[in-house]
């Protein structure tokens, strides 16, 4: 699957939050989107899904996004919004099963195939044991993993996750990054908006750096996540180096 955007801009009122971005994303890659708060990361991915009006061109496999019916987009791109609110106290199993909605008819029940997909998603996100629990009564970390399972249950060729690591402990942060990595290795296109530069640098094939709505850099982490780029974008002085064979990025202090 290929998602291509050309001169993509998003305006909220008079403010330009995404400014003329050109990019192309292909399957089999884990793409990180980083940038300061308010850089336009979430607006960019929401525009990719057609959730907010945008200028410019968005194409999925060569077809304009606006020409693809909503239900088809839903089967091809799974989305985990930032700070997902849950409005009803459903069980974990019931919530994860919502991911199968794009595959069901108006009244049709879950088939055995759907149940298997739900079970796979729950196993992958390590939430199988939580199945009977009520989502509104989970800890922050459990909840985050359940929401990822919900997105995985769609089994779409593209997965867009907006800050999936928020409120996760280090072990579960690693687990989620490994999970996203595995999805990409299986051929999926995974786009992850995130703040942890170190994990983005280690796990992503490619990183986009956004600032003030504009694309500042786009490439492999080693080329993009440099001390110079981090200073320009975040205004921080960072140490970038290697330890135990792993690339590390440690923010040291603010530079201005």
């Amino acid at each position: 699957m290929v998602i291509r955007v050309e001169q993509l801009s998003v305006r909220l009122g008079k403010r330009t939050v995404v400014d003329a971005i050109d990019a192309e994303f292909t399957g089999g890659a884990l793409v990180g989107i980083v940038g300061p708060n308010g850089a336009g990361k979430s607006s960019l991915v929401r525009a990719l899904l057609g959730l907010i009006p945008a200028e410019g061109r968005i194409e999925i496999d060569g077809v304009a996004l606006s020409a693809i019916p909503r239900e088809q987009i839903a089967r091809r791109i799974a989305y985990l919004p930032q700070g997902q609110t849950l409005h009803w106290p459903l069980s974990v199993a019931r919530l994860v099963a919502l991911g199968r909605l794009p595959h069901l008819g108006p009244f049709s029940k879950l088939t055995n195939g759907d149940r298997a997909a739900v079970a796979r998603a729950m196993a992958a996100a390590d939430v199988t044991d939580l199945a009977p629990r009520i989502v509104t009564e989970l800890s922050g970390g459990e909840r985050a993993r359940v929401l990822i399972a919900r997105a995985l249950a769609v089994e779409a060729p593209t997965l867009i996750v907006d800050e999936p690591l928020a409120s996760l402990d280090p072990a579960h942060q690693l687990q989620v990054m490994e999970l996203l990595r595995a999805e990409a290795d299986r051929g999926a296109l995974v786009i992850a908006v995130q703040h942890d530069l170190g994990l983005a640098g280690r796990f992503c094939d490619r990183v986009l750096v956004l600032n003030h709505g504009a694309l500042m850099a786009d490439g492999v982490p080693a080329m993009v996540l440099t001390p110079r780029q981090l200073e320009d974008t975040y205004g921080i002085c960072a140490w970038v180096g290697e330890a135990e064979g792993t690339r590390m990025i440690v923010p040291l202090h603010r530079s201005r």
């Binding site: 989305y79 106290p89 919502l98």
Partner: protein, 332 residues
């Protein structure tokens, strides 16, 4: 699946209670008829008095009890799911008060005396106008808060206009008639009322029960639902049209019966998996059961004048709220 079996059991139980309410509604009334005479009237025995009482007086009332109750229960469940607010009810978006205002206009200007269908028709029209106004006020936004704010504005406006009519009514009888209509009742309804209300209620029931998928998806918020392929614009149109037509038709014949749409979803929710789609059908059956039973209750209560149905449902609503309050405070 145990889940499927639980659901079937719940639906069957609610269906049996509703059927029981229907039969009691036929059997109980001010004229003491034995079960044998009621059964005889239903099976065509030659007993003209019993037939007149059971078929012409009690039957329309029992049918309306089921239909109006089902409509209010389903509308409440659909509204709570759509607005993602457990305090939403059919009247939240102004349809009930709009219908009531239409009826009050019919009574105030004496239009109701011109033709018996005048009052219900104006009530349905009132509900439609209220919902059309809601679309204008809320704009294209799909946010629940915008809709609730617009609904409260319309509801309050219609309520104020009703008060104005009561205030200015020169004729005390018209004022009395308006008051007693506003309390809500199924007393003295005929098959004419059934014929007027049933088509509207049927359309409303179909339009509202169509939305299970969309309501479930809305558990994840508007973005989440859209990303799951839900067309929120169409969902909103179906829901609001369903409430306007269905609740408008129900209020047109029964008057403003409150609380059924609010409490029934709360009563059935703990018996389901709590997803918005799972409470739709049980709420319709539960509403039908609750309203027919409440309508039997007003007939057996030893009061000097018959209690109004809306009064009884309002009293029934209080304990439900208290239970909720206690659960929130973790006292239960």
């Amino acid at each position: 699946m145990t889940n499927g079996r639980n659901r079937a059991a719940l639906l069957m139980l609610l269906g049996i209670v509703a059927a029981l309410g229907f039969m009691l509604s036929l059997a109980i009334g001010s004229a003491p008829l034995g079960i044998a005479r009621v059964a005889g009237a239903l099976t065509g025995a030659n007993d003209p008095i019993a037939r007149a009482i059971v078929l012409d007086l009690r039957m329309p009332r029992a049918i309306l009890g089921l239909a109006v109750g089902a409509m209010l229960g389903l509308a409440g469940a659909a509204m709570q799911g759509y607005l993602r607010n457990p305090l939403a009810e059919p009247s939240t978006l102004g349809a009930t008060n709009g219908a009531a205002l239409g009826a009050v206009i019919a009574l105030y200007f004496g239009l109701a005396e011109l033709h018996p269908a005048m009052l219900p028709l104006l009530a349905i029209l009132g509900a439609m106008v209220a919902l059309a106004l809601l679309f204008v006020l809320a704009g294209a936004a799909e946010s629940a808060l915008t809709l609730i704010l617009a609904g409260i504005a319309i509801s309050t406006l219609a309520g104020a206009a009703i008060s104005l009519a009561l205030n200015l009514s020169a004729n005390p009888f018209a004022a009395m008639e308006i008051m007693s209509w506003l309390l809500g009742s199924l007393e003295d309804r005929s098959f004419r009322h059934v014929i007027l209300a049933l088509p509207c209620i049927a359309i409303g029931l179909v339009l509202l029960s169509w939305n299970g998928r969309a309501l479930d998806a809305l558990t994840l918020g508007e973005d989440g639902a859209k990303a799951l392929g839900i067309n929120l614009g169409r969902t909103r149109l179906r829901l609001l049209a369903g409430v306007a037509i269905g609740v408008g038709g129900a209020v047109a014949v029964s008057g403003a019966i409150g609380f059924v749409g609010l409490i029934v979803p709360h009563l059935v929710r703990p018996l389901t998996d709590r997803s918005p789609s799972a409470i739709l059908l049980p709420s319709a059956l539960g509403g039908a059961a609750l309203l027919t039973l409440a309508d039997v209750l007003v007939r057996v209560m030893p009061t000097s004048t018959e209690l109004k149905l809306g009064v009884v449902t309002a009293f029934l609503g209080v304990p439900v709220f208290l239970v909720h309050l206690m659960r929130e405070r973790r006292l239960w």
